[in-house]
Symmetry: C2
Subunit: 123 residues, 2 copies
Amino acid sequence: MSKKSGRLPTPEPADVVVPCCPPLTAGELSEADAERMAGMFKALSDPVRLRLFSRIASHPGGEACVCDIADVGVSQPTVSHHLKKLREAGLLTSERRGTWVYYAVAPSVLAALSATLAPRVAP
Amino acid sequence: MSKKSGRLPTPEPADVVVPCCPPLTAGELSEADAERMAGMFKALSDPVRLRLFSRIASHPGGEACVCDIADVGVSQPTVSHHLKKLREAGLLTSERRGTWVYYAVAPSVLAALSATLAPRVAP
């Protein structure tokens, strides 16, 4: 039951896409990169959070209203808490349209995390 | 200072490679897949653990003796604890050769995690 208005999106302050990080197989991570990546993996280390994330990532158009994804068996405040954690880690962006907030997976972040974990190509 | 003997490797009991999981963008994760993946991300959610992991992943041959990777600024028992967590999560395999234990990144697991995070291909 997506409700979209025709208004232009208004990005919220936390919509920061964090550029991330060299492949784990390329060399030893710097402490700074390790801190940043650990934060992203920590955001994905909760099963409910991961299910919310996959609901958004697999939703048509790659974004979902909070009204579309909240029935994962936990309370609304818990859903909000998890979405906030994912947004703070730079994995989701959000924008308010009318009464609803829409969440989208930051594609560049997902691509970067995926590349980070890519196995080394044999020489 | 790698020390390799010519003996055949003897896999340890915890050398279980966990097959993992559908892409996050393909649909909502099942609870079981979400639990399993969250466990892997949790293992990667500590900066020191991530640096140890990247040292092993980037070491020549894709494996490293614990003697090669232990100088990350924490005590030897802490290094052992982190390596155990990574092994239990199915991200590392280990084998004893002579007096040393060698750790290797399970390539199939890394490839699977990477694919799990791959962005959806635009239709």
